[in-house]
Amino acid sequence: MHDVSTFGFIDIHSTERILLRSKFNGCEQKAGAGRYVRRMKKIDENSARIVRIAQHADKAAFAELFSFYAPRIKGFFMRGGMAAGQAEELAQETMLTVWRKAALFDPAKAAASTWIFTVARNLRIDLIRRERYPAQHLLEEHDPEYEPTPSEGLLKAESEERIRTAIKALSPEQIRVIHLHYFDDKPHSEIAETLDLPLGTVKSRLRLAVQRLRSLIGED
């Protein structure tokens, strides 16, 4: 499960997304045209599914969401070092939480992938630690602290796309160290061993990767 050699950021799932899309007609709008619109729509299909779950307890939408995300969540947990059985169980739990908390999902604030990621992240931490992770904000319905300011409101539409573009602009080595360290929770020493690099190189590569990502996303 620690074999990371196969991972890359080529959009190998686009076919699957298109297949899912063809089954999904509920919220389709007449295309205004333009690649940007189509791309955003593709990303937003899963958001629309969560909204349908919230509004209509739509089990078909849930099944579609499950078939796309559950295997990814399981893969994500296993890359973080979790055993297959536990990853399977926690992936089911994550999807169940998505169903139950769907009403808290606000498509204006976050993409479906971001929201589901935070659900999975919180459950993983809650399992490992005795205390709940303090980062619950995307899930909380009445949280005056996190009412987005106007600039934060703009974040989603432009910025999620900009973030995707930024990640794709990183070198494969940079994406790899970010993924290993931050998302798979591997310490520097283990990354050094995995990639057969000196410890100092790992640290500086990581620092530069975060800096580059930061400047690609922009300061605003």
């Binding site: 991972f7 950021f9 190998i12 799932h13 307890a57 089990k59 849930f62 099944a63 499950f66 078939s67 995300y69 559950a70 295997p71 990814r72 969540i73 399981k74 893969g75 994500f76 296993m78 890359r79 399977e88 089911q92 999807m95 169940l96 169903w99 976050a110 993409a111 479906a112 992938s113 971001t114 990621f117 992240r121 630690r129 005795r130 205390e131 709940r132 992770y133 303090p134 980062a135 904000h137 995307l138 996190y146 300011t149 934060e152 974040l155 910025s159 973030i163 995707r164 990640i167 970010i178 993924h179 360290h181 931050y182 998302f183 929770d185 990581l206 620092r207 975060v210 800096q211 990502l213």
Partner: protein, 215 residues
């Protein structure tokens, strides 16, 4: 406000790999800082992208059926209780929302003019956050770090060799820094602090207090 955590720390917070104590302090900082909050959102979006592009691992054949079977069972959604607070807070101080759910212990003596109280009760005590309350102009006990110290100003101000810090500022001092922050002269100062790693107090009072605090 000008003192914010590095992007590496915000990325660790967003990905869920920052350890619990520092995560509580960073969460409290986020409640006070829209810039850091926006960046954490962006890094959570990075997480969403990573998830979308995660290699898939086949779920067991009956997994969807199992979950579908549980959808209609109403969940006793755990309501997060408000924490039990034994320390009184001065008028005009509202603790940031992420702290509302943690128990807060009584104020205890730490050094002349300085009190501390524990935040939460889970996890090892040495990495548990604490509130520090200092009279105007008092120096927080001198210590060196074996780990990284996170200090968030909640009321008043702090001043050290490197700068002045106001409400919402998060000071992160690593092991190499001899750090001796002093509360501003006009107002008492309340901070939320945690040490990620073992703290060694240098002064005599530190050596006495250290065992009591569980460091």
């Amino acid at each position: 406000m000008n003192n914010r955590p590095s992007d590496e720390i915000l990325m660790a917070f967003a990905s869920g790999t920052l350890s619990q104590g520092p995560a509580v302090v960073v969460a409290a900082h986020l409640a006070l800082c829209s810039e850091s909050r926006a960046r954490v959102r962006q890094y959570e979006a990075v997480g969403g992208f990573m998830l979308d592009d995660s290699p898939t691992v086949t779920m067991s054949a009956d997994s969807l059926e199992k979950v579908l079977g549980r959808l209609d069972i109403s969940s006793a959604a755990p309501v997060r209780d408000k924490g039990k607070w034994l320390a009184e807070m001065p008028d005009g101080l509202t603790l940031p929302d992420p702290l509302q759910h943690y128990d807060i212990g009584k104020w205890k003596f730490l050094a002349p003019g300085v009190q501390w109280s524990s935040v939460g009760k889970g996890g090892p005590s040495r990495s548990r956050p604490m509130l520090l309350r200092s009279k105007p102009g008092m120096v927080l006990p001198e210590h060196t770090h074996a780990g990284t110290e996170y200090t968030l100003v909640l009321k008043g101000s702090l001043h050290d060799e490197l700068g002045d810090y106001g409400v919402g500022d998060l000071i992160i001092a690593d092991a190499s820094l001899e750090h001796e922050p002093r509360a501003g002269p006009d107002e008492e100062c309340i901070c939320l602090a945690v040490v990620d790693g073992r703290l060694r107090m240098k002064s005599l009072i530190g050596r006495i207090v250290q065992p009591l605090m569980g460091f």
